[in-house]
Amino acid sequence: MFKPLPFKRVLVANRGEIAVRVIRACAELGLETVAVYSDVDRESLAVRLATMAFPIGPAPSSQSYLRGDKILEVARLSGAEAIHPGYGFLSENANFARQVIAAGLVWVGPPPDAIDAMGSKTGSRQLMKAAGVPVVPGTVEPLHDEEELVRIAEEIGYPVMLKASAGGGGKGMRKVNSKDELLAGYRAARSEARSSFGDDAVYIEKFVVNPRHVEVQVLADQYGETLHLFERDCSIQRRNQKVVEETPCPVLPQATREAMTAVAVQAAKAVGYVGAGTVEFLFGGDGSFYFLEMNTRLQVEHPITEAITGVDLAQAQLRIAGGEPLWFHQEDLKINGHAIECRVYAEDPAANFSPAPGLITTYREPGGPFVRVDSGVYAGWTVPIHYDPMIAKLVVWGRDREECIARTDRALREYRVLGIKTSIQFFRAVLADPRFLRGEYTTAFITPELLQSLPEGDEHELAAIAAAIAQLESDLAPAKAAGDDTTHESAWRRVGRWQNSNRVPR
């Protein structure tokens, strides 16, 4: 029996599937929950499942989910004693965390100073470098002159990457393959940086060839015990957003795993980390790995780690925040089998993943062995235009990677979403791709060709037949057609019966 937590009611300062995830963890620990909702989320699953629910403003998150003041006011009104921020929104806002603590509430997250320390990309890099954590070789500060550029490029070795200090979105970036291209590339990068950002400062970094995105889950209690829960491979991305994740990484040598996880624990300890966090690495095709950043919160993809370790990370966050020392240790953790997550987005993969919000008319999740769906939606829910398009996560476990892939494909085939476009079918193309099957993929996995490989067969013909049947019934009995009336005893079902009884209406 674990120690009763020092709080009884938890405010969940988030929305969507992660709010539901946290509500479930609270329910399993016997805690009451307080949901907050923007105007368009009144009918959300989180509101429906929580013990209490409070409105906090209009749809735009700047007026609702990002309003720390309103959330603290709801905490006061509701009698919540702890706040779980989920991911995104206020989860990595150190000032909000400080306000929560100052208000005498329990912050279910890392210490604000740890958030701050990891919050700045350059700051955290310098900090990690000092702590002996490998970072991508290069300067963090802007280059002073061409002489320094040439010297450092020689030091770290080609290819190198030149990046605008003020940059982002790929602008002001230049890959340089050899010394011959260096100066021309530098000048082009500076000129592009100046025209894009009004600042021509540029820094240099080693270009990691065939990189994969591999991250390590860590968990630390308030008493200095810091564990890792192995890695996740999150290389399959579109627009720098993760799409499919798996654990363990199919190509990580055990020695590298040991080194990487040790470094992750070291990184967490260097900032006095507490709770659940993730240390992200770039893992090169040559076996090297480098610290990218640390996410000081629960990650979207945490369930695959739960699947292979059996540790409920959301529950663990709450128990750690409640002051409980870790109830298991590094040697208790083993990689058990394999897990894959597919992030189901309301978007159209065939139209360059453009968002597809709207009303979900049909929604049926897959079930059966070792299939988990974390979602915040249901049939009848309208996916709002204001937030991230992720509507659900499909998480599948298998004894080995092969079984896991086959089961994930089965689950995808069982998934039924209608009304909005989703990435469900696209995942089947990912899973069937030979690069994925071999485990040999990089962050450049998703290509236009992959999108073309979506299955094609008699689907159009079948869809046309179904639509024609529906239209016929609708034309014959317009007032009571299917889709207008989906009750259990729909007129349409009756129509079906008439036919079996010579069309005599009953």
Partner: protein
């Protein structure tokens, strides 16, 4: 009844009649097939005469049906050709620009009187932090602009009329 069913670029002629049990269907000049089709709430359960079973989610949409086959969603535009003659020409021919998804108007790039060419971006709509440019369906002159910057619109709302 014979319908013209358009899915993506493809239009199929589908003949469908009620039969003793279920329906008789024919696609194009393909074979006649029997299908036992049952409505189970928001799905159509179809078993064909070769006993193949398909579980098809179905929902009414403007001018047709959302249909899901093997996990993939399709929009099937259904037209009764006998009535089609009575219909007006399509929105594109009329020069109407409409929203294709729910979203918020973040920019209107033209004003009444502007000459535009087919494919030219006219209005920018944002949804879920992504911007989408809506382009001119044909050449023409902007007659009227209905879109207002900042407005949150459903799918299928008129944004602009070309002359």
């Amino acid at each position: 009844m014979i319908y013209d069913v358009t899915i993506g670029e493809q239009t199929l002629k589908v003949r469908v009649e009620r039969a003793e049990t279920g329906y008789t269907v024919q696609v194009g000049d393909g074979p006649l097939r029997q299908v036992d089709a049952r409505w189970v709430r928001d799905h159509l359960s179809m078993v064909f005469d070769d006993q193949r079973s398909f579980d098809v989610p179905l929902a009414r949409a403007k001018d047709g049906w959302h249909v899901g086959v093997r996990g993939q969603g399709y929009f099937a535009k259904v037209i009764d050709p006998r009535r089609a003659a009575l219909r007006l020409s399509s929105a594109a021919e009329e020069g109407v620009l409409m929203t294709t998804m729910p979203g918020r108007v973040v920019a209107v790039l033209v004003k009444p009187g502007d000459a535009v060419t087919k494919g030219q971006p006219l209005v920018v709509v944002e949804a879920m932090k992504m911007e989408n440019e809506l382009k001119a369906p044909r050449d023409g002159v902007v007659e009227q602009v209905f879109a207002q910057v900042g407005a949150a619109l459903e799918s299928g709302v008129k944004l602009l009329q070309l002359g």
